[in-house]
């Protein structure tokens, strides 16, 4: 077993340390469960994989707790390990964006090399980091409506809060779809690293 493991990781570069992987596999299912149950709650239909509102709501609430805790843990880890610098786009990314877009739009066959994440990934991950708090706050407003009536007026009331929650979830869903697509098709070595840690 040990030799198998050494074969798998020998000479490989650590891409995702275990806390990153653990947290990724905590919030990823929570986001997907939240999206599917959330769409069911907005527009009940069996297409979303639920047969009744009761089970969809329970799933949504469990996903909400997992997402909140794993998101907070990820923010803490990003801060303590300083790896947020790998995620937030900087000036270099803006400068290299045309090069990245040229490749993605098939205008060149030369694949540009980036340190860890390309500018597109950075934008997607930063958008997740910004949209998930919106989703948490608006979701809590709808979950504990009595306590959040006054803060909800900042969004215009509980009805506009519902709308904001829906629009944020639509954005997260689109980003998640893009993220999954590129994760599956860009590089299988990188895809493997989110499971094993090594590229």
């Amino acid at each position: 077993m040990k030799s198998l493991l050494s074969l798998l990781i020998k000479g490989k570069k650590l891409r995702h340390p275990w806390p990153t992987r653990l947290l990724h596999w905590s919030y990823a299912p929570a986001v997907l469960a939240g999206i599917l149950s959330g769409f069911y709650i907005t527009r009940p239909s069996r297409v979303h994989g639920f047969t009744n509102m009761d089970s969809a709501r329970k799933t949504h609430f469990i996903a909400q707790y997992v997402l909140i805790s794993s998101y907070l843990a990820r923010v803490y880890y990003a801060y303590s390990a300083k790896n947020y610098r790998e995620i937030i786009p900087d000036l270099k990314d803006i400068v290299r964006m045309p090069e990245f877009l040229k490749y993605q739009l098939f205008l060149t066959s030369k694949k540009p090399k980036f340190p860890k994440y390309n500018p597109g990934q950075k934008i997607v991950y930063t958008s997740f980091a910004l949209l998930i708090p919106v989703q948490i706050v608006t979701g809590l407003g709808l979950y504990v409506t009595k306590r959040f009536q006054k803060p909800a007026t900042l969004a215009g009331g509980l009805n506009p809060l519902r709308k904001l929650h829906y629009l944020a979830s639509v954005s997260i869903s689109a980003l998640a779809a893009g993220h999954i697509y590129f994760a599956l098709t860009d590089s299988l070595k990188k895809l493997k690293s989110i499971f094993t840690g090594y590229k």
Partner: protein, 349 residues
């Protein structure tokens, strides 16, 4: 049977509760009508147990009522000045309707004083400053409601927005007679009731319509009405019950407690909420419309457009990747490029 007994008990109890105690006088009440459809006053007239007559004889001393008062002109406005001067801190001010603030409030003139127009803005500010309690009757007075809806040419505002003191909000479009009668009775007999974050009495607005709804089990089991008139949960046709705080499901309308919108097979439109009506329209849609500069569309359409763009983007990129041989190359490289799979199989053997 038990309900009938309880009802009989209430019939006997209510008059006793409302009768002024020894030495207690009926507090003076001023009811101003500002920019209003008069629906709230008309709704109050439908009150039963106590009825309007009992309200006048047992509970309050109506000094001024814009709709039912017989005095007019200087005589009517004179009562307002008289009450302010003689009974400061004693009278209850009830306001029905929004307060127009544009052009110094000239969009609503409630009478004339010394030959000059007396605006609702002026009257509410003056009377509100020395009232014992200020009650906003109906959604317009409480939060703006339909009379402050877009484009709101008179720049109408709620009572709270023009006063610097606490206003007790009793919203509803119109207000349910019990909500207003109950609030007035509580103020007179027991003082200020417990209020929620939006200054509404928790007694009537303490729980969501959704949690009190008789059709809640249909919601939990996803048995939904497809159109108004269906006898199931109204959620899919825009019921605002989950985000509306009121006791309509068990109190019901009017004072005979006969029915309410969902029982009549139509969705709740959330008329007691501060965002009503602009913030929760269309009434028969689950989510309010999305307003962008120059565009107004449904939230569902935004969701559909986003979904289509995402699907087109992903499928377009995938086709491009296949045509340019990028995807086959990635897969080939991933599975056999470094020979990892072969090494692994060899080791296992």
């Amino acid at each position: 049977m038990q309900g009938k007994t309880n009802h009989k008990l209430l019939e006997q109890l209510i008059p006793r509760l409302l009768k002024p105690r020894a030495g207690e006088s009926r507090p003076p009440v001023i009811w101003l009508g500002t920019n209003t459809c008069a629906g709230d006053m008309l709704s109050l007239l439908n009150s039963l147990d106590p009825g309007y007559r009992s309200l006048l004889t047992d509970l309050i001393d109506f000094r001024y009522n814009y709709l039912l008062g017989t005095a007019e002109g200087d005589m009517a406005t004179g009562i307002l000045d008289e009450t302010m001067a003689e009974l400061p801190g004693e009278y209850i001010l009830v306001v029905e309707g929004t307060i127009p603030t544009r052009s110094n409030g000239l969009y609503c003139v409630i009478g004339r004083r010394n030959g000059e127009p007396l605006t609702a803005l002026q009257a509410v500010r003056e009377l509100g400053a020395s009232a014992r309690y200020v009650v906003a009757a109906g959604t317009c007075a409480a939060f703006g409601g339909p009379y402050a809806a877009a484009p709101n040419p008179s720049d109408s505002k709620s009572v709270q927005a023009v006063l610097e003191r606490r206003v007790i909000n009793v919203p509803g479009c119109p207000v349910l007679p019990d909500w207003l009668m109950g609030t007035l009775a509580h103020l007179i007999r027991y003082g200020e009731p417990e209020l929620d974050d939006l200054n509404r009495p928790k007694l009537f607005y303490g729980e969501t319509i959704h949690n009190l709804c008789q059709r809640r089990h249909y919601f939990d089991n996803s048995i939904f009405a497809k159109k108004p008139g269906d006898p199931w949960c109204m959620y899919k046709i825009g019921c605002k019950g989950p985000v509306t705080f009121a006791d309509c499901p068990y109190r019901q309308w009017n004072s005979e407690h006969l029915s309410w919108p969902v029982k009549a097979n139509t969705p709740c439109i959330g008329c007691v909420s501060p965002e009503f009506p602009d913030g929760d329209m269309p009434f028969f849609e689950h989510l309010p419309d999305v307003k962008l500069p120059g565009i107004r569309t449904t939230a569902d359409r935004i969701g559909t457009i986003t979904g289509v763009i995402t699907a087109l983007g992903i499928s377009g990129h995938m086709i491009g990747s296949i045509v340019t041989n990028r995807l086959p190359h990635t897969l080939k490289k991933g599975f056999s490029g470094n020979g990892m799979l072969q090494k692994l199989l060899k080791k296992l053997r």
